[in-house]
């Protein structure tokens, strides 16, 4: 196929099979023509797409003008705040329910299993609508004698979104945390008990820090999904970045330009988060080097 094929390749006679004199010959790497062809085709396709968008009916000046518009930036702020709050709620509930699922108490375990079943089993959009319309079920909310309020005043778009996203997230995070806890060797818990730690201290000091190595990558992915999931809250009127972009294009009809503005911001946030995730994973990987692991013999019962 190529001219670099050594002419003696077919002559595998007894004499040149072990011919030490070829040891000084230059090694020529194989040519990967297929890779070159695939790369050229892909680059050409990409150039065509870029050209199409550049010549299409997109007013890039409008994109630039609205990229830092006050309404978009405030929407961006709400998106970020909601991501942080919903994720914090989700992780807190996730840890709590993971511990409950693993509890020997059948009632605690049952409640946690039900929670995970219910919130993983219904669409997020539907859960958001239920939270937002809770006033139809409970017009008033409160603890008798302490405080009372109208549900419509309490269940603002922010609160409904926070509860919807956070509680739904908790059901997924619970499973992630549970698998993280299960990944920690039982010997770690025994060693912690042997130096007099209580169950809670063992969890906090020994098990969870090691479970983090397994938990961080999927939770990092979930934070990234959460950034984008907050856009669902636009349907119940929460003023996040997509909702505000829509409000602008309802007024000026620059639909694609404003959607591009939103897409740009989502990409920026997700890029920053991906970098942060990389460093977080590196931090929690400490002590997990693969060198000289203890001999993996089965624990012998003597």
């Amino acid at each position: 196929m190529s001219s670099t094929t050594p002419p003696t390749a077919t002559g595998m006679g007894k004499t040149d099979r072990f011919d030490p004199s070829i040891a000084h010959l230059t090694h020529v790497p194989r040519r990967h023509y297929g890779r070159w062809i695939a790369s050229v085709l892909l680059l050409a396709a990409f150039a065509l797409i870029v050209k199409a968008f550049a010549e299409g009916q997109i007013d890039w000046a409008v994109v630039g003008q609205f990229f830092t518009a006050q309404s978009i930036i405030s929407g961006l702020g709400n998106t970020i705040i909601m991501t942080i709050c919903a994720m914090a709620l989700g992780i807190a509930l996730g840890v709590l329910f993971a511990i409950m699922v693993m509890s020997p108490n059948p009632v605690l375990k049952g409640v946690a299993v039900f929670y995970i079943w219910f919130f993983r089993g219904t669409p997020l959009l539907l859960q958001l609508l239920i939270w937002f319309n809770l006033a139809l079920v409970f017009p008033r909310i409160g603890i008798p004698g302490l405080f009372e309020a109208r549900m419509v005043d309490v269940m603002t778009p922010f609160v409904a979104t926070l509860l919807g996203l956070g509680i739904n997230q908790g059901a997924y995070t619970a499973e992630v945390v549970r698998s993280g806890i299960l990944s920690v060797d039982a010997g770690q818990t025994e060693a912690a008990k042997a130096i007099g730690m209580t169950r809670l201290t063992t969890l906090r000091r020994i098990v969870l820090p090691q479970a983090m190595r397994v938990i961080i990558p999927p939770v990092g992915n979930e934070v990234i999904s959460m950034v984008k999931l907050t856009s669902i809250a636009s349907v119940i009127g929460f003023a996040e970045v997509l909702r505000n972009a829509q409000t602008v294009y309802y007024a000026n009809a620059r639909v694609i330009e404003l959607l591009i503005v939103s897409a740009g911001w989502y990409l920026i946030i997700v890029t920053i988060l991906s970098i942060a995730q990389h460093f977080l994973e590196r931090y929690f990987a400490k002590g997990s080097g693969r060198r000289s692991r203890p001999a993996a013999r089965p624990a012998v019962e003597g």
């Binding site: 008990k193 042997a194 002590g287 080097g289 000289s292 203890p294 003597g302």
Partner: protein, 254 residues
């Protein structure tokens, strides 16, 4: 001398397997006891019951004069709380077959974890004592190494230092050299011999009959959940009276 461990008719079953079938023993303070016996004889289970890593089904165990795991009220024994059991475990230090060093902590952090987190001692003071312990097990240079960077023998020596840092009255060793490559066994046994010479009370579950003969004050031979023979190393390992003991020693030395 007051016994450090007393067990009275201790029974423990795992499903249908009777791991301990009525074990009674008194272990005096300041001595080294080696428990030997075939796999599944209940020797590790007995050790784990002394440290309450296993709950006993019936019988009673006293450690350092205190009934463990239960409080007697009238003619009933009531199970203690998690915190009370944790406090009772402080009397003894435990060394495991598979080391079980905390993987996310350096050697030094492993050793000071108990003193600082459990005993609420000052960090600087704990570090000072931990460094002395690392010196004693010959690993001062490895203070900042993670367990994954240490050989099995080094990990086990750190594990011994971690147990000693709690200043226990009694050290329990659960087959401390069984998971080690043969050339690393010696360094761990040397640390244990040094510990025995210093007068530490030790209960050692082991297959190292040479170590038992050299270091133990008493050797306990267990089989099928019961103590078959108990006495000096000379009596049990050299002139056993029971056929089962003779068979076991012949099998190990073969």
């Amino acid at each position: 001398m007051m016994p450090i461990v007393v067990a009275a008719d201790v029974r423990k079953a795992f499903g249908t397997v009777q791991a301990l079938d009525g074990v009674s023993i008194e272990i005096p303070a300041g001595q080294v006891h080696c428990i030997v016996g075939p796999s599944g004889s209940g020797k590790s289970t007995l050790l784990r019951c002394i440290n309450q890593l296993e709950r006993i089904d019936s019988g009673a165990i006293w450690v350092d004069g205190e009934l463990i795991g239960y409080r007697r009220v009238g003619d009933k024994l009531y199970e203690l709380t998690d915190a009370e059991i944790a406090r009772q475990r402080l009397t003894s230090g435990m060394v495991f077959q598979r080391f079980n060093l905390f993987q996310h902590m350096t050697a030094l952090e492993n050793i000071i974890e108990g003193p600082v987190t459990v005993q609420k001692r000052r960090r600087n003071e704990a570090i000072g004592e931990a460094m002395a312990l690392l010196e004693r097990v010959g690993l001062s240079a490895k203070r900042d190494a993670y367990p994954s960077e240490l050989s099995g023998g080094q990990q086990q020596r750190v594990a011994i230092a971690r147990a000693l840092a709690m200043k226990p009255k009694l050290m329990l060793f659960d087959e401390p050299t069984s998971a080690l490559d043969p050339e690393l066994v010696g360094e761990v046994l040397a640390v244990m011999k040094d510990l025995a010479r210093s007068g530490m009370t030790m209960i050692v579950v082991t297959h190292e009959l040479g170590f038992a003969r050299e270091v133990a004050n008493e050797v306990v031979f267990m089989d099928r959940g019961a103590i078959v023979e108990l006495g000096s190393p000379q009596e049990v390992l050299v002139h056993p009276t029971q056929q089962r003991t003779r068979d076991f020693i012949a099998a190990v030395l073969a």
